[in-house]
Point group: C4
Chain length 235, copies 4
């Protein structure tokens, strides 16, 4: 593909075009403290084209012109922006696209995710909180209910981000009902059928992680506390 054609892949006046949306969402994530210090990343799929934010740049200052575009089938780059490096998250985004047919994948360094990974062992679970209902069941249609337990696997971090691929895929296979994987001392990967679903899932999960940290600070057990005998159910 000629260079001019490649540039046309990221040039659009539509605010919902992936190249524009990645920039807008990263500004939002930056303001939430999720991608400061160049941390984190995001990828959106449009048909067979995968748009990926570059590595090591200030996520809140990206322009559509900074985006990599990859062909999902051939795994070849259709567009490589000048002087930028591809994201080390790329194999992990591909894992979500390939194994889950995701439409977008978000990676943050949320401090809530890091703290939860220091407080929980192999999985994070939380139950009986209304916000759980924003998350999908996945193994069957529909969303989790209030009395359901949300379970998110925690994988160990590796020296190089791309080396997380195997354990991330293992977690995706071992936990078919999860739409996210926590990476110990690192952050979280969240994906969804569409970019908006991925965004909402990430928001709802971060709300629950933050709440669980606060519950720990207050000495409240995540699945118990006042009213629990009336308001929780083992499932």
């Amino acid at each position: 593909m000629s260079n001019a054609n490649a540039d046309s892949l990221v040039a659009s006046h539509d605010p919902n075009h992936p190249a524009n949306l990645i920039c807008e969402l990263c500004r939002l994530f930056y303001n939430n403290g999720w991608v400061t210090g160049t941390g984190g990343g995001i990828s959106i799929r449009k048909g067979d084209h995968i748009f990926i934010a570059p590595s090591g740049v200030q996520k809140e200052r990206m322009l559509p012109d900074n985006m990599f575009v990859m062909d999902l089938e051939t795994k070849e780059y259709l567009r490589v922006p000048k002087s930028l490096k591809p994201s080390a998250c790329t194999p992990l985004f591909l894992a979500a696209y390939t194994n889950r047919n995701a439409g977008a994948c978000i990676h943050t360094h949320s401090q809530n995710a890091v703290l939860i990974s220091l407080l929980y062992d192999k999985v994070f679970t939380i139950a009986n909180i209304e916000q759980i209902k924003a998350l999908p069941k996945l193994t069957e249609p529909g969303y989790l209910g209030f009395f359901d337990t949300l379970t998110i696997p925690i994988i160990e971090n590796t020296a190089h981000e791309e080396d997380l691929k195997d354990s991330l895929e293992q977690a995706i296979n071992d936990y078919p009902a999860t739409t996210a994987v926590l990476v110990r001392r690192h952050g979280i990967y969240v994906w969804g059928e569409t970019v908006w679903k991925a965004k909402v899932y990430n928001e709802a999960i971060d709300y629950l992680l933050e709440l669980a940290v606060k519950m720990r600070q207050l000495g409240v057990p995540p699945d118990g506390a006042i009213g629990s005998e009336r308001n929780t159910r083992v499932v």
Copy 2:
């Protein structure tokens, strides 16, 4: 009502029109972390017309065109926006309109509300804090005084939001002086005579819930601590 007429119910250049105000206030609530992940909801009444935000959408990205409109008398929808689902909060908003002649009702997933519901049993009470004075007495004219106790009932959550209706109405009846009901492990419902009063009450209550959580973290009893012998009065 024809479709064109129904659309005119939500089309207005007046920023204080309910359909516009719902969008503006939800952006504010989103920035406060009260309605992230599609959580929460809001409804405003204008005469006999009730405007209601739809279910399961990103609350900070709504447009006036997304609003449902219901007739308070007949409980029939005057306007149903295409491809959107009515809010499961609707029966609860109606409870506030019917039982309290409210002008607006706000529902949030505020983490302060959830945490307080884990720390208190059947009611949340707080006394001798100046911010209490922003809240109405209701059973008589005027506002609470500094030495008064604010009491907000806590009801148990249910699997389906609409099933909260009976216990919410029970709480409204049992606590005629309250302008809010906490829902355990879920959030809070706050209403007021006008949308601005509902907004102010919700802000003042959330301030008090947040303060009570922080007092607990610091080991300060909500109604006591240094200066209490001089500065508090049992009422």
Copy 3:
């Protein structure tokens, strides 16, 4: 003064005009959580004219047209905006103008101020923190040094805000070096020679109150901790 003349007192294109500045600063204070739920207040003096935000309104939504104007000499209102009530803080603002020749006075319901008033008895003190240097000595020219101790008196709250006047004036007299008074379970009053000094003092004090709360949460004594033997000096 005729009504038209009275309105001209608050109509100006100069962003630094008191009526405009009160609105701008209150939006800032609202975003800091200092004046939510209609709490708090502010007054700016321009010569012998005192501009005062009204009582019981949403502080972030005020317009210049909402401002009261009082003559400092005669204590008579030069302008009373329609359907608004004078602030109950007015006697307290006057105390700062009269006793300290202040140019502006800020009142917030900062949660940091309320929490500190629950943790300290008759005064709040903090020493050996760089931010102290933003605050004036007052009893002599210049600013506090790093090794100085900042002392802010705490007065007891009263049922009616205006009844704080006597104890506020007492504190102003008893603590000639203070530019602020904490009100237990209520908030803080901060004043300065100009509106910008008052704003800066309020910011610096709130920073120190917040830090002292966090130090308490971490079990660090406000005037001690690691490095204290090398880095603090009793003065």
Copy 4:
């Protein structure tokens, strides 16, 4: 240099001109709570010209016209804005320029920095957190790895900011791998090859300081906790 020429040093339509960038970044830092109450400072180098924010002003309200410009070789001011005082941080910024060939130096009163200086003795260290990878090795090319330990020296505060120069230079010499120095009970100095690197380093470090404070609050050892046996390595 004539006055007109001196003014041309800070007048530019380029948003990346140091005089413009200082203003933009200080607004960002203010919103992060790093430079409230006139605290903190920043300097950017462009060739042999050093641009420095003035002392004692509201950092979020500065204009390009407020900037000092100094010649790095001669240490003479090329531009002195009217009625403003040079920053007391100037000798410390020069230390970073002279000893490290920095392109910019940021000084904040971040509460995370102050709190960490109260919890750690002579150095702050943190290991096995992904965000560490945003920081440079300096003593060799490239960035720190996940299993590396970030070490930031802590120096004692002095009565006058300029007196920090000797101990700051000592710390710079003693810790050739550091791009920042914590000042006990005061804040932090962070520098980098370019202004953007300095900004990113400061963000990444503050993230790590904040995380370490939260880990302490939760009783999690900075280099240990669940998963540590699998996910940490002594280096």
